[in-house]
């Protein structure tokens, strides 16, 4: 199996993705229980554990959402086991309620929460900096800079957590989790024994919660003073300019200084909450000026400035708060050079910028069932004379329905927000509301909102695009996945709520799907269309070579009406001098475009 190399002996070096290194790290740390809900850029950790957790002696599961995942890990930690939960940054918002309680109750076995943040939003709805959430919840916060550190810090975070009895948040970002580099393995530790004793600190009712607050302050103080905290920070270089930095931003400092041919004393912070106040102040006092370079934030900057204010220390400070360092987006050497050159007063000409090019928007794969669903949904609306339909959508591959030509996506906040907002839209809107959600997202955050809609008599059409997989994060299982898991059937869930207007369609069958959609649109109360068809990539994996075919346009029959490219818009179509073609390298052979509802002239046929 692909990830078996992660089971190797200490001392070995492997070329690993940051997230794979995390998988090795939890093995080394003697973790017993791990859980997650998949989300980029953290997903590959789950892929690793799904494959090799048994061999690592770790009980691992994909939970229905991040909050459930966190509670699974928290329960294990009450019994003295080491437990691990990980998610993308916005996943921590979902888990927040229990995350704050976790810090209040403390832990017996070491517990680490890993958040993979996404500065520049490569695949997310925001670039929130979860170090703030860690500080807000009063957990310890640790930030590595490289895949090697990601692994090593995870292991040390477990030691620190267990020593203090407090959870640790490890903050990764895309450019650590998704960087690949040689990673050297450490030794694999033994695991803790299950040793559960009843303890009121896990029952956060007011009386106990009141006591907990004092205990939290005490634990954070111990974390600050712990010897282990020294392990996380580094300082080097000789200069009157001090650069305080952390995380991925650190990786760009040395090269930028070199390009500008200047020097700095670099303080790389790995334990970002609670800060080693004395160690940092000592450095600030020696410096003439202090520059803060971090991704997200200003997190270190605000903390260091407030300590300086309290101790009456003033220096020339440069950071995000006074506009010297840009507030948003991930850093790189080029960006760091631009603001450092200004701070150091060096002329630097910016030389990049290229030609303006046609964009390549992300697209649904050829053969994707979502395309067929959007196509018939739009057609049904048109045939029913519905203009200005409001279409909340949700988080998954199908969010791409937002783009032309489908343009179904008028509201998209967070997991499950399509259904919650649909209740809100129908309260006030004259327009028809048709919303879209995927199967995994439905299980994650859609069900409570659907119960709300039914209970409060809201009238809209919910389309559940059921491809039986968590596709966008690389194809993880869902509650619909069968043995060894218990399979949850979406239609039964929806009917169980009490909803009667439930229609299940196969989107590849355009004609009957169209009729069903029209029926759903004509219903005077809440209705649910379950559009059920395997993810095309999954289906391809199961196809035998004889089932592989591709389609082509018969130019003699093609009337150049362009319905196929304008409205159906499979990613395998292209045009050249007005003629339509199918790129046979890209065609998935799904045959949907050959149905008369796409090509009225029957010009699309199997290529022999």
């Amino acid at each position: 199996m692909a990830y078996d190399s992660l089971l190797g002996r200490g001392g070995r070096t492997e070329f690993l993705l940051g997230n794979e290194a995390v998988g090795r790290g939890v093995y080394e740390a003697g973790v017993s229980v791990a859980a997650t809900y998949p989300g980029t850029p953290s997903s590959e950790i789950g892929d690793v554990l799904y494959q090799v957790s048994d061999k690592m002696g770790i009980k691992f599961e994909f939970a229905t959402n991040e909050k459930v995942a966190l509670e699974i890990a928290a329960a294990a930690a009450t019994g003295g086991l080491r437990s691990f939960v990980f998610m993308k940054h916005v996943g921590l918002n979902v888990a927040m309620d229990s995350f704050v309680s976790l810090a209040a109750s403390g832990v017996k076995g070491g517990m680490v929460v890993l958040s993979a943040d996404d500065p520049s939003m490569h695949s997310s709805q925001n670039e929130q900096d979860n170090r703030f959430l860690g500080k807000f919840a009063k957990t310890i916060v640790v930030e590595p800079s490289s895949p090697q550190e990601l692994k090593d810090f995870v292991v040390s975070a477990f030691d620190l957590s267990e020593e203090i009895g407090h959870p640790v948040l490890v903050r990764s970002v895309t450019r650590i989790s998704h960087v690949r580099t040689p990673v050297k393995f450490g030794e694999v530790r033994g695991k803790n024994e299950w040793n559960y004793k009843k303890d009121t600190s896990y029952v956060l009712m007011p009386e106990n919660a009141y006591r907990a607050q004092a205990a939290v302050a005490n634990r954070l103080d111990r974390a600050r003073k712990s010897n282990r905290s020294k392990f996380f920070n580094r300082i080097y270089g000789d200069s009157s300019t001090l650069i305080v930095t952390s995380g991925a931003a650190y990786n760009y400092i040395d090269e930028a200084l070199q390009m500008l041919n200047v020097k700095a004393r670099v303080m790389k912070i790995g334990l970002s909450f609670p800060l080693d106040q004395d160690g940092i102040l000592k450095e600030v006092e020696l410096a003439e000026r202090v520059v803060f370079v971090e991704e997200g934030g200003p997190f270190l900057e605000e903390q260091v400035l407030s300590i300086c204010a309290l101790r009456g220390i003033n220096r020339k400070f440069y950071g995000k708060l006074n506009g010297y360092v840009p507030m948003s987006y991930e850093m790189d050497v080029d960006r760091v050079v631009v603001f450092l050159s200004e701070i150091y007063g060096i002329e630097h000409k910016q030389t990049y910028g290229g030609p303006v090019l046609p964009n390549r928007e992300p697209v649904l794969c050829p053969g994707c069932p979502h395309r067929a669903t959007y196509y018939v949904a739009k057609m049904a609306m048109k045939q029913k004379g519905l203009r200005n339909v409001i279409s909340p959508t949700d988080i998954g591959c199908y969010t791409l329905g937002y783009y032309e030509p489908y343009q179904m996506g008028d509201f998209c906040f967070s997991m499950g927000s399509s259904v919650g907002s649909s209740s809100g839209f129908t309260m006030s809107a004259e327009e028809k509301v048709v919303s879209f959600i995927g199967d995994s997202t439905f299980f994650h955050g859609g069900i409570p909102a659907l119960i709300n809609a039914y209970h409060n008599n809201h009238n809209f059409v919910l389309v559940i695009m059921d491809n039986s997989i968590t596709a966008m994060t690389g194809g993880q299982p869902t509650p619909e996945t069968g043995p060894p898991f218990k399979k949850v059937d979406i239609e039964s869930v929806v009917r169980g709520i009490g909803i009667n207007n439930v229609f299940t369609i196969d989107p590849y069958d355009l004609k009957s799907s169209l009729e069903t959609f029209k029926k759903a649109l004509g219903t005077e109360e809440l209705s649910v269309v379950i559009s059920k068809r395997d993810c095309a990539l999954e289906a391809d994996r199961k196809k035998s070579p004889s089932e592989m075919k591709v389609f082509q346009i018969n130019q003699d029959k093609c009337n150049q009406c362009y319905n196929c490219v304008r409205n159906f818009s499979c990613a395998a179509f292209y045009t050249e001098d007005g003629k339509v073609f199918i790129d046979s390298e890209l065609c998935d052979g799904c045959s949907v475009c050959s149905e008369p509802l796409v090509c009225p002239f029957n010009a699309i046929e199997v290529k022999e």
Binding site: R175, T181, V337, L400
Partner: protein
Amino acid sequence: MPSFVFAGVGGQGIITVAIILGRAAVIEGKPVLMTELHGMAQRGGKISVEVRIGDYKSAIIPSKTADAMVAFEELEAVRNISKLKEGGMILLNRRRIHPVSLTIKQQNYPDQIVESELKKYATITVEADRTALELGNKRVANTVMVGALFSTGLLGLDEESIIAAIKESLPERHWECNLEAFEEGKKLVLEQSAKAI
């Protein structure tokens, strides 16, 4: 300490190529960093991967410093061109994947911008897709590109380590065709440079 950009479209096997080179560097005990971006789409979106062999901390290549670009698609080659240093080399698989936004409007592929930009650099055409088809397996086009890049001499890696890395990265039943693809890729560049002289 060479740096390379790999550009193309999701589904072309670009990440595998970069992993093979990374593993080859690891086999030689060289430090190496690789970073990849692929956005929301599972297939058909733009992909760029950056590989730096040497003692770097930043996996992201500063603009105008990459030694070569390995491009699997023409438009994506141009999109990433600002990473390439002046006089940098482009190994170009002549493949055009039309962006959907153009197709919806029945527009042609933007060959003019592509050609005028590519002219500014030392561009070597590597017909990787065609070569792979001739070898009877279109999936090995990416390994043809590995061979091509190797024979430019820019990698600073030994042939044995690349072959070992190919074997490490792929299941045994795919070794033979991929090693053949590697050989063919090497020849393609050598033939072109011979022509140039």
